[in-house]
Symmetry: C3
Subunit: 502 residues, 3 copies
């Protein structure tokens, strides 16, 4: 690897390095290796491979101002697949001139390149491969490290594996432009960084080539942050569904022989969903309360939270969104109630009953009030939750400053929790205190859900008391109790700051 590499790459993307030199000198320097049809100053990169990825890579590199040489075992056949500005030639010819060569082949074909060892010596090989889950599990060594072991005289850089051929072609839009990369050679990493930047992506340094396995695992991840919250929501749903089934369907069937199985698709689901939504919402705010309590007790924010609390804190967004999803489904199911036949038959039968009983006017003031307040609180709680959900969208969250984000997520979120609690309490009304609602000795479902939220609300109220609030704000400002430092643990305390806003 000589100075020429930096010359080529550095020049093209940033016009740096040579700006204060007369143009003529550059032409002299470049004239040796350049292709006739490409402006002489375009830096040259090589590509080995002719699959989708190789072709998309070539197209993107060409449109980013690079001079691209593609190495193929059968140049004639593959030439038509590449953009016309790319030069397609035999592998041995292709690797000669460029210093950076993209290896866009499957792992099983890496060894077929061994014949090029001499020409490749000293070059930078960019491993862009993306193993499948099976391959990833089968091989203990990452593709990039395997490539490095085959070509000890080359420098291997792992990069671009998170980018799909499609993204390469359509160009990086707003959003995920990050290209994690790693290598044992900082120079090589920088050279490839330049190419990454020139293509409109943002290089992210992941360290040495030993991280390649981790980088290769990245595109294999499947919504990792959602797994635990989704399972939790599913577990809560199952529990409350069974509980409601026993109370609303099984008990009438066993005790009174009434078949209320028609309640399974809508009614039982609709009493289950709000329970799940409500418990999930309280679980969003519980870890913040626990973290504050821990900080108060420890007298410092510079001590790491237990792992479970850390993870919990990091999954609050997902818990909140699942809570919103359940609440929204609850609203939809509720709006469906008057569309079903049950409601219609009930109203008709009620009218018949009134007529038969010779009653001319039906009006129960308490029921009217209970339902009106219950519905109004429900709408307001859902409205507040949807504001929270909207501000969780990446593009909106990022347009807010820290204070605005925490105002919305923390203040509005707490308002939503209080509104939900009132919604639940109005729903319950006096039922918790009436024997007839303890079917099979099971308390009404809503009473079960009230526990956690009430703890959260009480704790938040407690922390507002001057004695606690003053101590908390001092701790969050960096103050430490005497002797608090002895348990000090390393890094990732940014969480401390994060929670201090919640």
């Amino acid at each position: 690897m000589d100075v020429g590499l930096f010359h080529h790459l550095g020049y093209s993307t940033k016009m740096s390095g040579e700006m204060d030199k007369p143009l003529i000198s550059r032409h002299l320097l470049d004239s040796d290796g350049s292709l006739a049809e490409v402006p002489s100053e375009a830096p040259k990169v090589g590509i080995l491979g002719s699959g989708d990825f190789a072709r998309s890579l070539a197209a993107r590199l060409v449109s980013s101002g690079f001079s691209v040489v593609v190495g193929s075992r059968n140049p004639k056949r593959t030439a038509g697949l590449f953009p016309s500005a790319a030069q397609v030639t035999f592998q041995a010819d292709a690797v000669e001139s460029p210093d950076v060569i993209f290896v866009a082949m499957f792992r099983e074909h890496y060894s077929s390149l061994c014949g090029l060892s001499d020409q490749l010596a000293g070059k930078i090989l960019v491993d862009v491969s993306n193993p499948t889950e099976q391959e990833h599990l089968r091989h203990h060594e990452s593709n990039a490290e395997y490539l490095a072991s085959l070509f000890p005289t080359c420098t291997v850089v792992k990069a671009f594996n998170v980018i799909s051929a499609w993204t390469l072609q359509s160009g990086p839009r707003d959003g995920n432009r990050q290209v994690p990369m790693c290598s044992d050679q900082p120079e090589a990493k920088r050279a490839v960084s330049e190419v990454v930047r020139a293509m409109g992506f943002m290089p992210v340094d992941m360290g040495s080539l030993a991280s390649a396995r981790e980088v290769e695992a990245m595109p294999l991840r499947l919504l990792p942050g959602w797994k635990v919250p989704a399972l939790l929501a599913l577990g809560l749903f199952t529990f409350f569904y069974v509980y409601n089934f026993i109370r609303d369907v099984l008990q009438p069937y066993v005790r009174e022989g009434k078949s209320k199985f028609y309640k399974l698709p809508v009614s039982v689901v609709n009493t289950t969903l709000p329970c799940v939504a409500y418990v999930l919402l309280s679980l969003v705010y519980l870890p913040g309360v626990l973290a504050a309590a821990l900080q108060l007790r420890r007298g410092t924010k510079y001590r790491r939270f237990p792992d479970w609390l850390d993870h919990w804190l990091q999954h609050r967004k997902q818990l909140g969104l699942l809570s919103f999803l359940c609440a929204a489904l609850h609203a939809l199911y509720s709006f469906c109630l008057p569309l079903g036949r049950v409601n219609r038959y009930e109203v008709v039968n009620l009218a018949i009953k009134q007529v038969l009983a010779n009653k001319s006017h039906l009006w129960i003031e308490e029921e009217v009030w209970r339902m009106e307040i219950y519905l109004s609180l429900g709408v307001l709680a859902l409205g507040t939750l949807s504001l929270l959900a909207v501000t969780s969208l990446p593009s909106i969250a990022n347009s807010l400053n820290w204070r605005e984000f925490s105002f919305v997520q923390s203040t509005l979120g707490f308002v939503a929790l209080v509104l939900s609690t009132l919604h639940t309490l109005t729903y319950g009304w006096t039922r918790a205190f009436e024997d007839s609602h303890y079917k099979f000795y099971l308390p009404p479902t809503f009473t079960l859900t009230l526990l956690v939220p009430c703890v959260v609300i009480l704790a938040k109220a407690l922390f507002l008391l001057p004695c606690f609030s003053r101590r908390l704000s001092r701790i969050r400002r960096g103050w430490e109790k005497d002797g608090a430092a002895k348990f000090m643990l390393p890094m990732d305390h940014a969480l401390a700051q994060k929670t201090s806003h919640v």
Copy 2:
């Protein structure tokens, strides 16, 4: 164009070029042409014009660290309109010192600059003009090419026309920061690229000045990806609306003399919308099935799909979102049903009928079950569709890796299709087999809509059979049937990879 240009521009934005030189030398180099009030090292750019765009451009350039000279025919009058850091002077004076000059004028005034030909010789002129649709159609030559023809000694670069004066002023936020640009002179393109980057935008190279017409057409486009899907949705809506009108309104009127025209605003719309939503959703998944079938038959993924299939594949997002829109409107219309008078009168009349018939209890178990299942499936289908819609938002789509995106769009999307099919089937129940529902010999509407979705679901099931799925995954991994290569066609096969995930 001399070294000085690169010196000026290169320095400012990247601090490159001179880093390894003592500062004193730069001061010497710059001292000749710099203005007194601007730090000597700020690169200088010129602007000709005093309209909105010129002023916003000046403001942005100044705040990006450039020294700006504005050329005006009446400097005294226009000076007040520009930021105070910009120097406003006569045109001839303004173009003297900078090497890059923005021409922010209407095409009809280009020729007024001809008197400056001598001063402009060798300079880079940036054409930022944005023709109206009429102008674009009237002139066969792009504004930039026209400018280049007027000043043959200058290099013209087309750029910034997609950026509004407003965006220039408020600064590029997250999102569309791309500035397509083109020129016949790579050096000039690079120099302007530097300015673009320094202003916080991202230059996109569109090739030679011959592309200027295309670049100028960009801001004229009006949601091109939505035209065909929107027309299709409109066509489907019209067809189903007329069909439902004939069956639900016209037939009762003609046969029984009943006026059911009150059904036009809500009821007929609400039976039409789910049909459109359902057919559109199936059309999202049909092209993927066709592509897979084509690949299976051809035995390779390296052959281009027919154009119609390509276009169809590229419009799936729009089709899906329109499907969601129709489904959401269907939900809203359904929730409105109990609010209307029709429902109220029906219930009252049903109660009266029961009383008159001396029936004390109304309950039809089958109807209850049908509606409960139907409603529950509808809510679940809409819920799943809304998850799909949310992950289509650019900022969310970009935070997902390829696997996550395809899991949501492909797996969840298919779940939504199956749920919709079950929703439709429960709606239909036994109606398809009862003569009374064949009004005017027309089959019930829902039977018409079932065709395409059932084909898609069956095909998807078929492709899961080992014989097909194994062959398909081999093809998508790059395997080719003997002789499949002979039909090979060039580039844009990234689609192949794209569809392989769907």
Copy 3:
């Protein structure tokens, strides 16, 4: 500040400056001050402080390829808190070698650094502090200026205060990557810009250090654009709620002794919300009409609008979104109506009444039609409004070109206004002309809301007349009436262009 600084920083991030120099020379240059464990070519930065921010900063700098030296009063204790790649040492040792030093301490501790004055001479100090609101109000001098006054031999750059420790750690995602910075020394600003860019953020030049107070106020702002619109919405809500309360609850109570207080939670809210939504929507389009009228009268677009109109134009997005929020809540409340007891009792009592009156069939054709049209228009208006709301999302707004954005916001928005007007008119039907609806002589609420929207619609229709539309489009193209220029006022006329699209 010597050449070395530029050497260090310039090299690392852009690989510029030295590309055309043999590698060996760099090693020689760097060998003096580099740490053994870090590659010699990594540029070195210092950090003073050991709080959350200091640690997150260190982590981010290390992962961006910098060699980080942290100065602490107690290196042994704090070393464990920092990433292992960062060198933690005594303050005096830490500030010796790097040219750029981040001061990540509270303002009250700045003076504790005075002992380092000699070592710090000539260095760049980056003030990253983020005062609380109280501190910001207490001190008239910004933290950065205070720091500069303590160290007159240093150059102070204000930067990074808008970035939270959390964002530093998790890395800049899509969105708010902007880092406003200011300093009196352009060289220092550029050097820090390089660091900002290397960390994946985007530097935004805010001018001289006198702007530091403004920069420090940025993270303190709390949704400033929402304050006036939210207060306006609240004011309108209060007014219409009281008005509806008097008409719907108080009047029946006073005049007829009927207690309708149960209407407070849902019914009165639900007649109030659409009024607020409707008036807010019309206030989105009124300023555009006023601006056009003003331009027509003045005969030029080059004159500044009055301040109140400017502000109004800038708050249209917020007004529109609040209008959508109210409309959506109105829909939710409406869908809740059939769920309440009031509706059920009304239907039952209506059925009883019919039976007692011996009427066998209830059907009022006019009522049926009125409600069907009213509901359908409502759904369509809400659907259109939600399209507007969706295109207001930053990530979607930015994927549209100017023409598409203005098509959606202006054309669709006007359609929504017309649909809402028709929705209101069908709701009103003939009520405005019936004495019985003038309770306490107050006209029906809907008549009050119609005023502004009708003015807007009429004015828009008027501007379509050839005489006005031709003159307007000429003005917006830059034409001016004779003598219009005499009132010319400076900058921010980009608004003129903005409004010309609306």
